[in-house]
């Protein structure tokens, strides 16, 4: 009797699963889960690595699917600017970075400030600007701080191209909904971060790409960086979000080392972020040289 019951239960579960799979409409967020690769981790000490389930994060359309019309041309141009800002956005960039230096996988990577999660959230109030800003004004700030350059005016074609690329990347994304994978990963902290620990972690885990001196590695042809500089004159300036230790730690936790995110412990991420923060980088453009030279360095809190 119990044996029979168990069998019965099995068939019911099985049948319900089958109906669930066949009858349910596919959620827009589940399209093409194959693109999201599960992470493999080979840690020296045991840490928890979240496994990405198919459909957990939104998957943007493929590059091959860019339409072949004027809209598509704009999308392609925007993508070129985004991926190779050093060449296509040369007019506005002041350092050696590309947009995709931080927004990994051409702006698709969850928890690496993906574009598709941001597009539906603007216009929004931003305390840094002390006003409601549009997505264009947000991009201007990227150029001012993270790219340490000149903000393209709102009517420049480069700005139009970037927004068009974002728009295409965010196909079917709901407006005003916080999607999973938006912005940066959460992180916990058990003690104050230490740049001395950070230096050890940096030397063992980061220096092979970003260099012992943190100046990154240039491409063989000399245009732009294969691995972006983390500090120094060619990196983001003191006004950038990445200059905040907390922000950098959250980024490092989910994305660094490249392709092996979540392999650092939370505190290791904090320490490396602190180690990054103590180095020289271009001045904060929001204030004059006087405050920059004598005032406190921004971004230090956690």
């Amino acid at each position: 009797m119990p044996r029979f019951k168990l069998y019965y239960l099995f068939t019911v579960i099985n049948a319900s699963l089958v109906t669930a799979i066949t009858a349910q409409e596919i959620d827009p967020l589940e399209v093409r889960p194959s693109l999201v690769e599960p992470r493999v981790s080979l840690p020296t000490e045991l840490i928890a690595v979240p496994v990405v389930n198919p459909g957990e994060y939104y998957v943007p359309p493929k590059v091959e699917d860019i339409p072949d019309d004027k809209y598509g041309d704009m999308v392609r141009w925007g993508r070129e600017i985004f991926v190779n800002t050093q060449v296509h956005g040369r007019r506005f960039v002041g350092n050696g970075l590309n947009c995709s230096s931080c927004h990994l996988s051409e702006g698709r990577q969850p928890y690496a400030m993906p574009l598709w999660a941001a597009y539906g959230m603007y216009p929004q109030y931003r305390s840094k600007n002390r006003e409601v800003i549009t997505i264009q004004e947000r991009i201007q700030d990227c150029f001012r701080y993270s790219l340490d350059g000149i903000a393209p005016t709102l009517d420049t074609p480069e700005m139009e191209a970037l927004v068009t690329y974002m728009h295409w990347l965010s196909k079917d994304v709901p407006i005003g909904v916080e999607l999973p994978g938006r912005g940066l990963a959460p992180i916990s902290r058990t003690r104050s971060p230490s740049h001395i620990n950070g230096e050890i972690v940096y030397k063992t885990r980061c220096a092979m790409c970003h260099g012992e001196d943190g100046k990154g590695q240039k491409h063989k042809n000399g245009v732009g960086y294969m691995f972006p500089p983390l500090w120094g004159g060619d990196s983001f300036n003191r006004g950038a979000g990445m200059n905040k230790i907390r922000r950098a730690a959250r980024y490092i936790k989910a994305n660094m080392p490249l392709g092996a995110g979540y392999t650092l412990t939370d505190m290791e991420a904090w320490d490396v972020a602190n180690y990054m923060w103590i180095h020289y980088r271009p001045f904060d453009p929001r204030v004059g040289w006087f405050l920059n030279a004598l005032g406190p360095k921004p971004g230090g809190g956690w």
Binding site: F283, G288, F290
Partner: protein, 548 residues
Amino acid sequence: MGAFFSLFNCTAWFGLLNRAVIKNDLVAGIIAGVLILPQAVALATLAGMPPEYGLYTSIFPVIIASLFGSSWQALSGPNTALAIMIATALAPYASLSTPDYIMYAITLSCIVGVIQLLFAVFKLGAVFNYFSETVLIALITAVGITIILRQSGDFMGIIMNVPEDIDYTLYRLFFSAHLINGYAVTVGVTTILVSVLSRRYRPTWPHHIVAILVGTLMAEILDLLFGSATTAIDRLGHLSLSVAPFSHPDFSPGNFAEAAEGLMSAGFSIALMGLIQSTIIARGLATKTGQLIDNNKEVASQGLSNIAGSFLSCFPACGSFNRSAANLEAGALTPLAGIVSALALALLVFGASPLIARLPMPVMAGVLFIVAVNLIKLKDIKRLLAIRSEARIIFVVTLITALYGNLADGVFLGVFLSIVAYLRSVSVPEIELLFGLKAEQYRPAGVERATVLKVSGSLFFGSVNGLEKFLVDLNTRGGRQGSLVMICEQIQNMDESALEVLIHEALKRREAGGDLFLWLGNHKLDTVIRGSRLPEVIGDDHLLYHTG
């Protein structure tokens, strides 16, 4: 055929070269090259193109036009009027400085070049000698006003909608007054003030360059004091220049078809405007240097430079007033100076590109302001408006059309009005009433009293109306209904309608008891007159000649 090939002869000036001339032109060319830099960039932004293209346009067409041109000092390059016409023509089809827009501009350059070359091949260069000065002053004034309004946005750090009527621009300026960026205005005003002051107190200095240097320095100081994100002064940014920026005009249906109509008509008006300015500059320089100008060759060189430009990433160019004047002032003697100026600019741009990247937009706007104010020549305008004549009407009509419609309409209307004015001046034959001894010597024997008229010019269907009116006036108001002697020695040509009027007049005079005599003097008009029925009507003995 020889004349055709002489259009494309670029070696005429080689004979002038010797050590002293080469040395002189090298110096003059380098000075002229440095002077163009700010304008090259500023005019590119005015044309809606990325600044790189302004530099290409100041390099390649200059070389070609200098080589093939007729004038030895005229310099080509981006031009204020053309820049505005390009922006108004292309703005409806693509957003400013997008790849599509650039492609259209390059295609437009080819169209303009071909039209200009056709003008040269059909020997229509002489047409531009008749272009009325009044119309040109009106068009240039319109350009000046348009630039001032167009640049006011950059000047104050606000974004303006580009293809808009001037009254909307004024409204917008008024209503966005609270958005004005004080730092940008400070920089712009500094630029203008320095330029004005340096021109007043240091007239030998290149005031544009001084103004740009001081303006840029001002922006840098503001940035250092308050931070660049606070001041938000827009910069030119890094240029990505290429040594050989090859391109090609795109007439493929997919890209060209939708803009074809606009591009073709814009091409025509831009070609006209370019030629008008180029030929007038060449003529103006020739009066100073005493050089003989071949208009057709000048037109051909413009066509060639624009066609070549379309394969080297250039937008339409033409002769430039400021640059030619600067070139002449620097002491240029041969086209070598023009070629050197282009190469000097190229070297400067590649050498100083990090500095050029820091050029603030309000400084560029300030420079354009000065250029624009210099375009509005109040003295000429006052002179035109003071004279009560048709010139005044033409001036006002062209100016309003060019400002409220667009510059292209202004050009077409201007050309039309020039022709009308010319025809009107031709269509009034000079008629002089002779008295006393002067009249006496023409009085035929056997006629006691006769009215003597001296007519000169050409009598054709257009001008015959004037003669008719005069004759009617003479009869009714003047009371001179007796015999009439018309001295036709000075008449260039006559046509059927003029002869009809004369026949009609002869019959009328006979009715009133008078008669009509024609003093022909020589036998110049014989073929026309003998071919008509005039001799039958008034009688052979009424046609008078010099005896012997």
